[in-house]
């Protein structure tokens, strides 16, 4: 018995060592850029970012924030201008559609549902050339409004799918009681279903916010003037083709990812549930 317990303890220790080593390996790149960002690059090249000696400075952050060519400050402003409406608008529109998909039957319903699933699998590349011409003719090319529009439309399919699944799983008793009391469909949706769906709405909002904030391809296709660049474009542009200033780039990277990381820290539960939930049933 004692030997068996000893064996179990040994196994427990080994598993812990393995798992925590992997966790440390996984964080190394983050630690690396964090160290590089707070040191003068000339020292990092000589001593390595893992060396704790030497000077510490915020110069890289200041340089990246107010870079004359590609400024993170301008990138932040533009990213927020795009991301906030491109999270709220599709969420509202998709919630309405998801309710109809969940509670009513209507002609072509299954076909429409399949269309949503196909859209979810489509690569962004499949739409951008016609969108480029459309935005041009609408005067929205190189405008943040154009980007908001595209993100709103492309967020709808997966949001509808996710919210429909959630609405399907809600208990119907309260809705039926309200219907007996004479409440209409719109009332039931806004007063009962929507408030009960706050966890799902938080998940969807957190993920759409992160995706829009993190988007690079649409921004690259539809924005030209660096004054209109969102933060991902600004940071990507900081990397020269041949010379890389890792100090500047590390600071820019940290600032670009800090917004979604902060959101993740605050809403972790909804985040994970959302990432997994829209792919798993129920």
């Amino acid at each position: 018995m004692a030997r068996r317990r000893g064996k179990l303890l040994l196994k427990y220790i080994i598993i812990n060592i393995v798992v925590w080593s992997i966790a440390i390996i996984w964080t190394l790149p983050f630690i690396g850029v964090a160290m590089t960002s707070v040191k003068p690059f000339s020292e990092v090249v000589v001593h390595g970012w893992w060396s704790l000696i030497g000077n510490y400075t915020l110069k890289n952050f200041i340089d990246a924030w107010s870079n004359p060519m590609y400024s993170v400050a301008i990138g932040y402003r533009n990213s927020f201008i795009v991301t906030i409406p491109a999270t709220i608008a599709p969420l509202f529109i998709a919630a309405l559609a998801a309710y109809v998909f969940s509670r009513f039957s209507f002609p072509l319903k299954t076909l429409l549902f399949i269309v949503l699933l196909v859209i979810m699998a489509m690569p962004q590349q499949m739409s951008v050339i016609p969108l480029f011409f459309m935005l041009n003719s609408m005067g929205l090319y190189d405008k943040l409004q154009g980007l908001i529009l595209v993100h709103t439309a492309w967020g709808l399919a997966w949001m509808t799918f996710f919210l429909k699944n959630f609405f399907d799983a809600l208990p119907r008793e309260i809705e039926e009681a309200a219907r007996v009391d004479g409440a209409g469909d719109a009332q039931i949706f806004f007063k009962i279903v929507l408030p009960m769906s706050m966890p799902a709405i938080a998940s969807v909002a957190a993920i759409q916010f992160t995706w829009v904030w993190s988007d690079f391809f649409y921004a690259l296709m539809f924005l030209v003037n660096p004054d209109n660049y969102v933060v991902t474009l600004q940071v990507a542009s900081m990397k020269g083709q041949y010379h890389i200033d890792w100090g500047l780039l590390s600071a820019g990277s940290i600032m670009a990812m800090s917004v979604p990381l902060l959101l993740y820290a605050l809403l972790q539960k909804y985040y994970v549930r959302g990432m997994v939930g829209w792919t798993l049933k129920g």
Binding site: A153, M221, V235
Partner: protein
Amino acid sequence: MGRAKKRSKKKIIILFLLPELVLLGAFVLGPIAGTVFLSFVTPEGIGLGNYYRVITETSPDKALIIPENIVEAQPPPWGALVHNIVWVAIHLPLVVFLGMILAYLLHEVKGSSIVKSIIFLGMVIPMVVGGLLIRFIFDGTLGVVPLLFQAIGLNSLAHTWTNYPETALISLILGSVWLWTGFSLTVYSAAFESMPKSYIEAAKIDGASGIQIFFKIVFPLLKHATIVVVVMTMLWDLKIFDIVYVSTLGGPGGASNVMALVMYTYFARALDYGRSSATAVILALITLIPGVWFIKQVLKGGPKER
């Protein structure tokens, strides 16, 4: 009364569905149809010319199958389409295996939620930043990987991996494992949590070993989670763009080129909308292979239609 109710129901359906259908029609389905149309438009008229030229193209920055500068003995570079397939072939098994094993091990580890959160970070950060971090990991003077090889005396790998055709693609693929394992781990962890404990307990009492339990009991119960991980990972691999654009731009000499980047190159550098569209359609058709499989799963075993 009945008819009025029916009419109000119809009104709700139309009212609630309309904004979504208009936006999807105008900015999603319309453009998709437009891309398909453009892919058939060639200078010589309507036809399959773009597809033919895109597939047989051999210039290193646009080739899909075989580039002119292919190294017969030991490629890369291959064409971008081949790179995407290589990406799936290496990335997918690693991600499935790592996610499954880690989820199983973390099941009995204290502080496992911290480890999970750390590994999940790759899912949260913008892919552009992910690509820059990959470039950093494999940097000759700063990166952990080249320094590791320097330490063990393998100097041929102690340089910036993304700058050399032999190592550019594999460094991006390995880096993408680092970014994407969080997804697989999270899906598998959720599957483990919903797994009935009594099965495993009963097997333990019967004297089954950990490995036996894993392969005989746990593994079959992970089928649905595995389908999700496989499909999503394949879609992610096939659509990969940001990481490549920011770290290597498909280079050197096309050695890390991918489909999505070729589509962009035709559009932005060659201004050839027809061939760019044809590349996009080929990419979309390939993503539909896992896509259709997933749709079938959703319609079959997913949430019930009411």
